[in-house]
C-alpha cells in the first residue's frame, strides 16, 4: 500500500488531498492507496473572504465550514498538528505523540502572522488577516467618524493585492458613510513603489490618484507608538494616524522552520517547477510554505496543488512525474465596492492588470461563493 500524508488542512492541503482522492479513486477503494490529512483545526476558513467581513459584506459563518465535510470521506483526517517533520525517514510526529509514516509527503502548513516582530504593531494596529482581526476592524469602522487612516504594508505577506483592495474599498466605504471629506488615506509600502510587481505598481498609481489616496513608499516599519498614535519607518519617516490598518509581516510555520534544513523564516526550499523539497523527490511543498519567489496567494496554492496531484498520482500509477508547475498566479483586485479588475502571470508572462469593471467585481463575488468547489478539488 502507498501512503500519502498531507500536512495541513488549508486550501493547499485540501485541494491536494481531494484531488488525489479523485485521481486515485480506484486505488483508494481497493485499499492500495491511503491518504491522510493532518490539520491544526477542525474548521476550514475561506481567507480571502476576510476582506468582505471587514466591511460587513459577509458574516463569519459564511466563511467557515467543517474541515471533515470538505474532504472526501475516504481520506483519513486528524486534528493533530505536526510537531516534527523528518523528511529523510518520512515520519511525522504530532502534538498527541502519534507518529505517521508515509511514502509521499506533502507539506502545506501555510503561513502565520508575526506582528510581534514590529514593536507596538500588535497593540496599535488593526489587521484583517484573521477572523478576530477582521471583526474588530469592522466594529471600529462602524463608529469611525473620519480622520487620518494609514494602511501599512509589511513583507512578506500573503494575498499580494489585498492591501490595494482594502485601500480602495476603504475609500468607497468612507465615501458611502459620508466621512470621506473628513478623512485622509495614506498607503505605505516597503519598496520604492506601490507594489512589489512593477506592472501592478504602475497600474495602481492612476487608480490611487483617481481616489485621492496618498502614499509613502520605501517605508519599512520600525515601530508603532500606540499612545502617541504614530508609526515610524526604518527610513526615518513618522506618520500620525487616527486609524492604523496593517498587513503584518508573515512567517512560515515554526514546525517547518525547526524541522527542515534551510527553511529560513519557515519557508521550505522548493524546486520551483517540480515543487519537490530540494533534494527529495517524494516530499512536495505546496502553497505559502514554499520559498519560491512568487506571490503567496490562494490561486498559487491552487495551481501548485493541481501540479502535485498530477505528479503524485502519476508516480503511484506509473512511477514517473507528470508535469511542471509554470508559476501561474491569478488574483482578482477589488478596486472599490462596485468595480474590480484581475491580474494573472506566470514564470514567463509578466502581469498586466486591466481596467476595472463591474462584471469582474461580480465575478469575484461569485467566485467567493464557489470557493468550496475549489477546496473540494472540483474547480
Amino acid at each position: 500500500m502507498k501512503k500519502v500524508l498531507v500536512i495541513g488542512g488549508g486550501m493547499a492541503g485540501s485541494i491536494v488531498a481531494n484531488g488525489l482522492a479523485r485521481k486515485l479513486s480506484k486505488e483508494l477503494n481497493n485499499g492500495t492507496v491511503e491518504i491522510t490529512v493532518l490539520s491544526a483545526t477542525d474548521k476550514h476558513l475561506y481567507q480571502p473572504g476576510l476582506l468582505y467581513l471587514t466591511f460587513g459584506r459577509v458574516t463569519e459563518s459564511e466563511l467557515i465550514r467543517d474541515q471533515r465535510g470538505i474532504l472526501d470521506n475516504r481520506i483519513k483526517f486528524y486534528v493533530d498538528p505536526a510537531t516534527n517533520i523528518d523528511t529523510d525517514t518520512k515520519k511525522v510526529t504530532t502534538k498527541s505523540g502519534k507518529v505517521f509514516e508515509c511514502d509521499y509527503m506533502v507539506i502545506a502548513t501555510g503561513s502565520r502572522l508575526v506582528p510581534e516582530n514590529v514593536p507596538g504593531l500588535s497593540e496599535g494596529a488593526h489587521n484583517f488577516y484573521s477572523i478576530e482581526g477582521a471583526k474588530k476592524l469592522r466594529d471600529t469602522l462602524k463608529t469611525f467618524e473620519g480622520g487620518k487612516v494609514v494602511v501599512n504594508v509589511n513583507a512578506p505577506h500573503k494575498c499580494p493585492v489585498a492591501p490595494i483592495e482594502i485601500t480602495c474599498m476603504l475609500h468607497d466605504f468612507l465615501n458611502e458613510k459620508g466621512v470621506l471629506d473628513k478623512s485622509e488615506i495614506i498607503y505605505t509600502y516597503p519598496v520604492g513603489r506601490l507594489h512589489a510587481m512593477q506592472p501592478v505598481a504602475d497600474w495602481a498609481v492612476p487608480e490611487f490618484e483617481k481616489l485621492g489616496i496618498k502614499s509613502e513608499t520605501l517605508f519599512n516599519t520600525k515601530e508603532v507608538d500606540p499612545s502617541k498614535k504614530t508609526i515610524t519607518s526604518e527610513e526615518g519617516v513618522t506618520l500620525n494616524y487616527d486609524l492604523l490598518i496593517t498587513i503584518p509581516p508573515h512567517k512560515g510555520q515554526q514546525v517547518v522552520e525547526e524541522s527542515i534544513e534551510g527553511a529560513a523564516g519557515g519557508w521550505a526550499p522548493t524546486d520551483k517547477k517540480k515543487l519537490y523539497l530540494e533534494g527529495k523527490t517524494d516530499v512536495f511543498i505546496c502553497g505559502d510554505t514554499t520559498n519560491i519567489p512568487i506571490s503567496k496567494a490562494g490561486s498559487t496554492a491552487h495551481f501548485e496543488a493541481d501540479t502535485i496531484v498530477d505528479n503524485i498520482s502519476s508516480l503511484i500509477k506509473e512511477g514517473t512525474i507528470a508535469r511542471d508547475y509554470d508559476g501561474k498566479v491569478f488574483c482578482f483586485i477589488e478596486t472599490g465596492k462596485e468595480e474590480g479588475s484581475y491580474v494573472w502571470f506566470n514564470y514567463t508572462t509578466p502581469p498586466a492588470p486591466g481596467l476595472p469593471t463591474k462584471a469582474v467585481h461580480r465575478f469575484k463575488l461569485a467566485y467567493n461563493k464557489m470557493y468550496w468547489l475549489s477546496a473540494k478539488g472540483m474547480l
Binding site: S25, R57, R362, L365, A366, M370, L373, K376
Partner: protein, 117 residues
C-alpha cells in the same frame, strides 16, 4: 448598418443584464450554482452514480406499476384512519392478512439488509 444594429442590441442586452443584477443576486445565484454542482459532483463517485441510476430505475418501475400512486393513497387513507389504541385493537389488527403480509415484507427487508456489508 444591420450588423451595427445587432451589435448595439446585444450590448444593450448585456448592459441591461448587468444593471439589473445586484451583488446580492449574484451571490445568491452563485451559491445555488455551487450547491447544485456540489450535489452533481457526487455522481463522479462510481458507487454513488450506480446507486442513483438504480434508484432512478426503481422509481420508474414503481411508477409504471402504479405503486407510487398506491403509496400515495395509502398515506392518505392512513392519515384519515382513527387509531383507537389499546392492546385488543392491536391484536385484532395483527390478525388481518394484509397486516401479516406487511410484517412479512418488513422482516424480509431486514433479513436482506443484514446480508449487506
Amino acid at each position: 448598418m444591420e450588423n451595427l444594429k445587432g451589435v448595439t442590441e446585444i450590448e444593450r442586452f448585456m448592459q441591461a443584464g448587468s444593471d439589473a443584477l445586484t451583488d446580492n443576486i449574484t451571490e445568491r445565484l452563485a451559491t445555488t450554482a455551487a450547491n447544485g454542482l456540489e450535489a452533481v459532483d457526487k455522481l463522479n463517485d462510481e458507487d454513488i452514480r450506480e446507486g442513483v441510476i438504480k434508484l432512478l430505475d426503481l422509481i420508474g418501475n414503481l411508477n409504471r406499476s402504479g405503486a407510487i400512486d398506491e403509496l400515495s393513497k395509502v398515506a392518505e387513507i392512513t392519515a384519515k384512519q382513527e387509531c383507537k389504541g389499546g392492546i385488543f385493537s392491536t391484536i385484532s389488527m395483527l390478525g388481518k392478512p394484509e397486516t401479516q403480509r406487511s410484517l412479512q415484507f418488513l422482516l424480509n427487508a431486514c433479513a436482506c439488509l443484514q446480508k449487506c456489508k
